[in-house]
């Protein structure tokens, strides 16, 4: 049963429907093994954003505090989209890459294991 309600067939209002974000979609982004930045972040982005902008514009703002950041070799970085392996086309948009509203992206930079190698 989708909800235990007094009124049969009760439907909840979907508060975070795509239409409520004024042309943006939500994307969550997380850099694995660098937990000193304590949580995955939420980003409102137009679906037409080129994937490359995540690397060139968004990641530096979000993650550059970490001494590992400048060591990232983006050509070797691996990605996950909603917990499944994923190979983005950097020149295509989020939408063209199949990244839907409220999708979660996690990237791993091989060889970089955070502060003191403790995924920190």
């Amino acid at each position: 049963m989708p909800v235990q309600a007094l009124k049969p067939g009760y439907k909840g209002e979907v508060k975070d429907a795509l239409a409520n974000f004024h042309g943006n979609q939500l994307v969550y982004l997380h850099w694995a093994d660098h937990l000193i930045m304590a949580f995955p972040i939420a980003l409102p982005l137009p679906p037409t954003t080129p994937f490359r902008a995540l690397i060139t514009d968004i990641a530096p703002n979000a993650f550059a505090m970490h001494p590992d950041f400048e060591k990232i070799d983006w050509s070797t970085v691996t990605w996950q989209l909603d917990r499944k392996p994923f190979t983005p086309d950097l020149d295509k948009t989020l939408a063209e890459n199949g990244i839907g509203h409220k999708s979660a992206l996690v990237f791993t930079a091989p060889g970089l294991m955070g502060l003191a190698g403790a995924s920190a």
Binding site: Q4, M65, S103, S119
Partner: protein, 507 residues
């Protein structure tokens, strides 16, 4: 006409007279129409008369004791205020614990008051209605006395000025608000299991004992007196919760499966709220009482273990997620603290790094795995602070759809990996911090698609604007006063001034 009052009524007689107007068999309307909430949750009651109010014989002393407690509490509060008790606490940092208490817990008391008032109308048993009405009054009294206990601090310290307004808006307070909204919008039986049993019986000691011991250890006479005043109510509430769950389980064998589902759900929701308490115990009390993991061991594993052993004869088991809570015990407070530390610019209370002594206390309490994982983070944050570059996270966090806490929790068996869970419902994707929260969603998705997630509300433009300044204004977080690190805050300046004055007087 002459009226003759009986000289002395027995306790039973008095209780009968107190409740006689509240229970009759309706004739104009079907009972099902008078109590429309009684059956939709699927709980089967064979005999409503089977529930007897456990406090029916103590009703008279209830009024007397409550009045006596009020008199004592307000006498202490008066004395505390007249003698500038705020200057006698261990350290100015301590007041940040009260800021969390007043903004997160006190409005929860008020929500519990509303929930029990609903119960006091909706259950078809007069004893249960009366008991729920009494608890509703208690919860209202708790909200009120907490506000009064904290009000004196509000004259001096920042961050205590808008608790009620903030409760409905600020990102971390939505965690508590959504908990009680969820409980109040369920049916009467689920509310009873959620608050009366799971919260009051299983978790409330964890909330009250450490908070009040913390107050006592840190010289806060105002809060500790409130705590004593509330604690005797809590034991009565626990009795009601236990009597109610036993009544429901004894009425029909089909009820056990529903009750177990609620226990699993409300254990997990309550436990998630306690993350902030764990942070408070391990990082915020200037004088510590005990590490979170010890409190969890004593008040949940030992006391809760005995309780669930007692309920085993009804087929009730430990909550299914209790093992996850045990696995998280060594890191819960630290993962929470690290989040609030880097969200200090967006919070209504101060955060700060632990001192060397405090880190040693934590390392002793939590062991080598804790040191390996977390000391590098504290060390790096300290280096940044030394350079004048205190780290504040420039981004907003992804939140769990159910508990609404930022997704900082790690995998139960791997503290180096964020615990991501997600599901797709009606074409939309929803994310969770844990299996516990995912199961709650999947049981009732139509309820949780409505979640008012503060980060998403900001991004929809519903929170005053697009910049952090706009949003802080919407939250009533006074920039440069309520937020950022304790070090360098107006609170710290004031506290140091008081200490300097004291030394001047002494010399």
């Amino acid at each position: 006409m002459s009226v003759t009052a009986p000289k002395k009524l027995s306790l039973k007689e008095r209780y009968r007279i107190l409740t006689r107007g509240l229970d009759w068999t309706t004739t104009y309307q079907e009972p099902a129409k008078v109590f429309p909430h009684a059956e939709f949750e699927g709980i089967k009651i064979r005999d409503w008369d089977g529930f007897v109010d456990p406090f029916r014989l103590t009703m008279d002393s209830y009024w007397k004791y409550q009045a006596e407690k009020e008199r004592k509490l307000y006498a202490v509060l008066d004395s505390f205020q007249q003698n500038n008790g705020q200057t006698a606490i261990t350290d100015g940092r301590y007041v940040n614990v009260l800021k969390i208490f007043l903004t997160a817990i006190t409005p929860g008391e008020y929500q519990a008051h509303r929930g029990f008032a609903m119960l006091g109308r909706q259950v078809p048993n007069v004893g249960l209605r009366i008991a729920a009405q009494m608890q509703s009054l208690d919860e209202l009294r708790h909200a009120q006395t907490q506000i009064h206990s904290c009000s004196h601090y509000n004259k001096y310290f920042d961050g205590l000025h808008s608790f009620s307004y903030q409760h409905d808006r600020v990102w971390y307070l939505s965690v508590v608000k959504s908990f009680f909204d969820d409980a109040r919008t369920s049916g009467p039986f689920e509310f009873l299991i959620a608050i009366g049993f799971s919260f009051e019986y299983v978790l409330t000691n964890l909330l009250f004992v450490p908070f009040m011991s913390g107050a006592a250890y840190n010289g806060d006479l105002s809060t500790v007196t409130f705590g004593f005043s509330a604690q005797s109510d809590e034991s009565r509430h626990m009795t009601l919760g236990l009597e109610a769950i036993k009544f429901v389980l004894e009425q029909h064998e089909d009820n056990a499966a529903i009750v177990q589902k609620w226990i699993d759900k409300w254990f997990w929701r309550g436990y998630r709220i306690l993350a902030i308490l764990a942070m408070m115990m391990d990082y915020m009390l200037p004088k510590r009482i005990m590490p979170w993991k010890d409190a969890w061991e004593i008040y949940f594993n030992e006391a809760g273990g005995a309780l669930f052993a007692d309920l085993a004869r009804y087929g009730i088991k430990m909550p299914s997620t209790a093992d996850v809570a045990n696995k998280e015990a060594f890191r819960l407070s630290t993962e929470t603290m690290l989040t609030f530390y880097q969200m200090g610019h967006a919070s209504g209370f101060h955060s700060w790094l632990p001192s060397e002594d405090e880190l040693k206390w934590l390392a002793d309490a939590y062991g080598p795995e804790w040191e390996r994982l977390y000391l590098p983070r504290f060390k790096y944050f300290r280096e940044l602070e030394a350079k004048g570059e205190h780290y504040y996270n420039p981004s907003l966090p992804q939140l769990c759809q159910v508990c609404q806490i930022p997704m900082f929790f790690t995998e139960p068996d791997d503290p180096t990996k964020i615990c991501f869970r997600d599901t797709v419902y009606n074409g939309d994707r929803y994310h969770f911090c844990s299996d516990g929260c995912q199961h709650i969603f999947e049981n009732e998705p139509e309820k949780y698609v409505q979640a008012w997630l503060p980060v998403h509300q900001v991004m929809q433009g519903n929170c005053g604007g697009a910049t952090i300044d706009d949003v802080r204004k919407y939250w009533a977080v006074e920039d440069g006063e309520d937020n950022y690190d304790y070090v360098g805050s107006p609170d710290e300046t004031m506290w140091k001034g008081w200490q300097a004055d004291r030394l001047k007087v002494g010399s």
